[in-house]
Amino acid sequence: MSTAVGDIHHDHHHHKPSGITRWLFTTNHKDIGSLYLWFSFLMFLTGGAMAMVIRAELFQPGLQLVEPHFFNQMTTVHGLIMVFGAVMPAFTGLANWMIPMMIGAPDMALPRMNNWSFWILPFAFAILLSSLFMPGGGPAFGWTFYAPLSTTYSPDSTALFVFSIHIMGISSIMGAINVIVTIMNMRAPGMNYMKMPLFVWTWFITAFLLIAVMPVLAGAVTMVLTDKYFGTSFFDAAGGGDPVMFQHIFWFFGHPEVYIMILPSFGIISAIIPAFTRKRLFGYSSMVYATASIAVLSFLVWAHHMFTTGMPVFAELFFMYCTMLIAVPTGVKVFNWVATMWRGAMTFETPMLFALAFVILFTIGGFSGLMLAITPVDFQYHDTYFVVAHFHYVLVTGAIFSIMAACYYWLPKWSGHMYDEVLARWHFWLSVISVNVLFFPMHFAGLAGMPRRIPDYSVQFADINQIVSIGGFAFGLTQLLFLYIVVKCVRKGKPAPAKPWEGAEGLEWTVPSPAPYHTFETPPKID
């Protein structure tokens, strides 16, 4: 018996499958990681194309290019795709590639389920996108699908939106279970919890958040489904329900969700900054505790999205103070990154450039978040472009920039090739300039009272919107350069050494580049 077992191992561990079935039937964490990353990039371009439609329409006041209803579908599906299709799968892809290598595990703990959690995603997004072509159009109620917009006033196709969200949720939950079990059960001997790289730690906590809140989202969409199609009245006051209840349930999911989209970034930045400053990360354990505190607090702040719904003053104050409290652990992180750089031997390769831009621009997004947390001030900011500016700073220059940084940082390990540093720096500088032209003026449009999610606006906002749109087109085009750089790197980049970054630390740099199809089949020994 045992020889047979050995043979099977021997057999499949030495042949890399080829052809389409390699990708369809795979159980390999590196293949699945690549699938996630490519899928997320495809979704990034799809959602980006929708953003281009939005910016083209908003280039001038008045209605030029699209119908208002189509505009609403674009804002809605842009948001859904970027959140569930681009950012979250990109992080899951990074987790798949890096976590087993970082903790010295042979693969993810549950490899077949890993494949399943990826392959249901394309179906979910195909269903979501198909609803755009149905009579009455696709979802047009904002990615937050507030009732009664998503119930009484939603298009016929809402049922498809609901079920596609269910599938995305199932995918996220299975992916998160895999990550959490891999981290708990598959660490190499000697890899204690407090020795794990911060990317592993932040994903560990993110996975917990995902398992806790994705089912709540499933509950929310289920109630929307029954309210719209089966005559329930969860969100209808005539039946004793309350539309505001929808917002409570949604944001109980939604606020942890925004940390789901930023905590892995913190892990990435905490890997890259030490590597390019050639110093150890300052305050490792405080980073771990700060991440955990942010996760705990994320469950106590959801109603700061709802200050204008007429909650009792006590609730407004509670949620305001809890929200401001989050600035403390987040500040710990920012100070730790800056302290890591203090007197470091810094170099500025592209991953580091993106990481530095992250620290500065994410902090701007954090500060505008703090402004929004102040209840009386939020009454002015609510549903204006100030909010749009805020969450795009944390999501684009935060989450997306960290994903770009991660791609440049680990591309040599994944592909075995170096990317073109000159082109990559062009990508960085064009991105960082255009993204600020795109999002910074939105703060002023919002403060001056321009509402979000409206296809038309007063003429006094025309100049600002033209600048914003130009920035938007430039940022969108720049990302095609990123695609070119990655393809060029994978195809004919210069061969990369096992450890291309002088100051990089971690088990992933102890294996050759490209990383062999199977790594750490025998676990490494960690001191």
């Binding site: 795979t26 159980t27 703990a109 498809l160 269910h166 279970i177 329930t232 004793g240 409570h248 089949e521």
Partner: protein, 292 residues
Amino acid sequence: MAEKHASYYVPAQSPWPIVGAIGLGLIAFGAGHTVLDVSKQQEGYGSTVLSAGLVVIAVMLFGWFRDQINESMRGLYSDQLGNSYRQGMAWFIFSEVMFFAAFFGALFYARMVAVPWLGGASNNAMTNEVLWPTFDAIWPLVKTPGGTETQAMGWYGLPLINTAILVTSSFTCHFAHMGLEKGKRGQLKLFLGLTIILGAIFLYLQGAEYVHAYHELGLTLQSGVYGNTFYLLTGFHGMHVTLGTLMLIIMFLRILKGHFSADNHFAFQATSWYWHFVDAVWIALFVIVYVL
């Protein structure tokens, strides 16, 4: 630990996940269109696609579990892999807890906030005055602000009997587990069979309760937020009991085939955890939905 690691079983390629993805995709697409067809009372392809998806998922489950069982019977699995499965199952149950939490949360909010506010509580006197001045904020909400009337479901009678049945079934399930761990196959089969029968009786009585509610109490899915939370909580719970019973039946069939040993029975353990979880949800349900 190093040795355990070296033998961690990473399966070769498997066709089942992609089959499952196609199945789940068909189910979602089909279910969406079925809902659409039903709500518009039109003939459509929704239910056909949905049925096809269910068939594909059934085939996938059969094939996937067959592979797993064969691998397990061939001794490919280490203790460490067993831990992965157990932890995975525990986190899955946690996700289920959070799913029910969403509906319990809705019930809490409707009962403690929405309904009292519609009745003028807190600073909402004008809400009541302007919208529905005659509305009486009581729970169970037997008359909605819109005027739909119903009768409340009592806790005495069928729900109490069902509680006794499900709690008993948790014990019989545990006795079956003890029988397996002590190698007493007779005890295992007897108590597992009893658990399945109790689960089936529970489901039958739950169905009878629904008939009673619809026909005699006028309590329907459309009866306002009281009926909504009642049916969605008990309905999703009933779906979980159905799934749990199916899992128990499969365990029973596997035991008849001689599967599982005292120290190698993850599938049985997972099913048993699931059953206890379903029981715990019911106890919460009984107290919060029926009694209070």
